[in-house]
Symmetry: C2
Subunit: 460 residues, 2 copies
């Protein structure tokens, strides 16, 4: 980790250590030296080993997986990025994979196999114990991206009439407990969760205290059919640490813990940011050249089409441009300002939708406000750019034309920036998806049309 | 929360409930009906009440704070967005604020007062008990955005030689325990943290088990001087739930829990996304018109300057455009494709830097790969656009000119998209900040210059 204002440059030191480690690993792979590889990776956390595997490519990764196969456990496997997981699974010996999945919590197994094809999926399911297999299959029965897929089925529960002593004795006698748990969920005889107790309160209470007396004041239950993005939002908004998950009959079927919610929040953000930039949402710096092209070319193709639409608008005014070449010089400014202003509004709107701060109750106020901001922005830059154009080309009419075009385009930009994501959301699509392209298409077309159209009417 | 494919439209229902709630609240405020307001807000979580306060404006918010003052507690106060917190504090009676801060954990008090001016800060500090005041002041002594500011000083510790029974007896006898805690930190006699035990393992172990036998295998300590962004990264990467914080002498000074790390991760993402779009990083949909203009105008001004630089490049070729007006039609396409391709690379690079997957060890490989992707993108769209231009304007030379300009500009776009954020990072700046403007300036200037320059040489 980097320090704030103490050592000279700890970031640089860390980068150098990282570079020399990757060099050493590369050498060990080339030499086929499994012992050296073990020694280098032994002190590392599973998540960091997974990062190293992601950073290796082609033949190097294959050799690594051969040399290191018997050290690859469930923890490393569940940390490996989805994009390369299938490839890694194929290259590992079957018994290594089987052994690894047997160690994993049910939610990690679900995460591992949900994107696999049927034969690979069946093979991994076959490696699990009966109980684990049933849990994983139940989880897979819920829709993709639902809470049911995210939850782990291992939950620590207690009957609602127990006291602290009974609960502690039960925990001490229980052979198997989840790796991490933060609450005891109280259930009624029909397995409906009714409350929960934090482990801290359980530890601090006397043995004869009824659990009922130390339950948490607020208690949130998640439906297995909730979307994972909404689950992440709830954890962040209400500072939850874990929450019980129920099926359609309100019966307890699992638990979601904050570390999984944090991963979802992280992924959702990543998706938004990549989609806004017109990059496939699974893009990573470790992708191959081909993979990268496959993700980026479609978006550039869409942009090429819209850029040609804008060019078509310009071509309607070829005659005017030939007479007043200054128009060719100034027209990209109108379009560029519109594009930028529209992107600003768009980004704020997309984030507001994601954080549920743009809701039915304030949507019209926000739209009105954005329109006003757009107009005021337009007026500001109409004055500035009017003066610049006037001085540059010594023409008051040209200055007037660009000023009016600026006000119109920046107002339209603001409206497009909010109405486009709202419309996408309303239609059930991701408001971040493709909205950038829609918004700049609108601002390009409107910008060129208003500027050149006005110029044709006034100047020629 | 919304469901996946069960009810018709639960999102719409939730939005309507929210609308009617906000209406009722508005009416209660207008009628000055404090009892009605209490009844409406009573079932709500503090975080949701804070959201409502954020959504009210001007006189309405002031009336709300008057009517609801005696219900505003520490929890609501710490949930209110930074942007309006100072205003809210000013409008609340002093005794309400004093009472509220006395209930808060030390990290929430630090978060509340770190941005206040000296007199307001001193007033709040004066309201705290001696012990809390010292803890808050110690935290404030660490740099802004450091782990020291994020931690809470309330930590549950045990001497390393204790057993489970001694620890449970201690917890039962302790009057005061933090609201939420997940580990017992083992400390040596000089208060250096040496290991930790999860509460789950503590509960499951027999009373005579030494704590040493049930400590977690991996144990990470955070320096109070670490940057909060690095802390959030570590929590996410290593699935930490809480981690002890130490000072320069490795002595335990506090603990950071995952919910705080999750908030930081959320804020960091939000900052990245807003900075990439050229919007002030504190922008919210609830800002006033004036506030919004203040954040957006500076970035639009920067864009106006760079758009004028691009216009200056075009004006160098006025004569050529007058002779071949098709150039004016096609030139925005070259610039637009460059801008889009550059933004794609930029976004992936900024995210890779934020997630530490673009490091010293792979930087040259990634730069080479992006350059190759840029060139291949350029070749793809050179062919497509060459054909379009040839058909549209029936000129093979014009087609050749736009093809070459496309290859050059998309290659430069890729390089700019990765080298600009890398340079900013190297210089200690935020790689997201202003990089969008830099990248599009490069692609506009290069795009116009290469296209029009080549055209001047070949076509005229």
């Amino acid at each position: 980790m980097s320090d704030i204002g103490t050592d000279p440059d700890p970031d640089e030191e860390a980068a150098q250590r990282q570079r020399s480690l990757m060099n050493d690993i590369g050498e060990a792979i080339e030499a086929g030296d499994a012992a050296r590889l073990d020694a280098l990776l032994e002190p590392m956390h599973a998540a960091d080993v997974a990062d190293i595997i992601e950073n290796l490519h082609g033949a190097e990764r294959r050799s690594f997986l051969q040399l290191y196969a018997d050290k690859i456990d469930g923890e490393i496997l569940s940390e490996i990025d989805e994009a390369i997981r299938e490839e890694v699974l194929e290259q590992l010996p079957r018994d290594v994979v089987a052994e690894a999945v047997r160690e994993m919590d049910s939610d990690d197994v679900v995460d591992l196999i949900e994107d696999l094809d049927e034969p690979e999926r069946a093979e991994i399911l076959a490696a699990l114990d009966e109980g684990d297999r049933v849990a994983v299959q139940q989880s897979l029965a819920y829709p993709e991206y639902s809470a049911g897929r995210l939850m782990q089925s291992e939950v620590v529960t207690a009957p609602e009439h127990w006291n602290v002593g009974q609960t502690i004795d039960f925990l001490r006698s229980e052979e198997w407990l989840p790796e991490q748990f933060y609450h005891i969920v109280l259930v009624d005889p029909r397995r409906h969760p009714v409350a929960y107790v934090t482990l801290g309160r359980l530890l601090a209470a006397r043995r004869d205290t009824p659990l009922r007396d130390i339950v948490e004041p607020s208690f949130r239950v998640i439906s297995a059919y909730d979307e994972e993005a909404d689950v992440a939002y709830a954890f962040n908004q209400y500072h939850l640490i874990s929450a019980p998950v129920v099926d359609k009959d309100d019966r307890l079927v699992g638990v979601i813990t904050i570390d999984d919610a944090m991963s979802v929040l992280d992924e959702e953000h990543e998706e938004d940011i990549l989609r806004l930039a017109g990059v496939g949402e699974e893009s990573a710096i470790t992708d191959t050249v081909f993979e990268t092209l496959r993700q980026r070319v479609p978006w550039l193709m869409v942009n090429l089409v819209t850029a040609n639409v804008a060019a078509l608008v310009i071509s309607m005014f070829e005659g005017t441009i030939q007479q007043v070449v200054a128009l060719a010089v100034l027209m990209p400014i109108v379009a560029s300002m519109g594009g930028n202003a529209g992107t600003q509004t768009l980004t704020v709107s997309v984030r507001a939708l994601a954080t549920k701060s743009l809701t039915g109750s304030n949507v019209w106020r926000v739209v009105r406000r954005e329109a006003l901001v757009g107009m005021l922005n337009g007026l500001t830059f109409a004055v500035v750019m009017g003066v610049v154009a006037w001085i540059w080309f010594d023409g008051i009419s040209l200055a007037g034309v660009i000023s009016i075009a600026m006000v119109v385009n920046l107002s339209i930009a603001a409206l497009a920036g909010i109405l486009i994501p709202l419309t996408l959301e309303k239609a059930g699509a991701d408001p971040a998806l493709a909205s950038g392209t829609f918004v700049t298409t609108v601002t390009d077309v409107v910008g060129f049309f208003v500027f050149l159209g006005l110029a044709s009417a006034v100047l020629v």
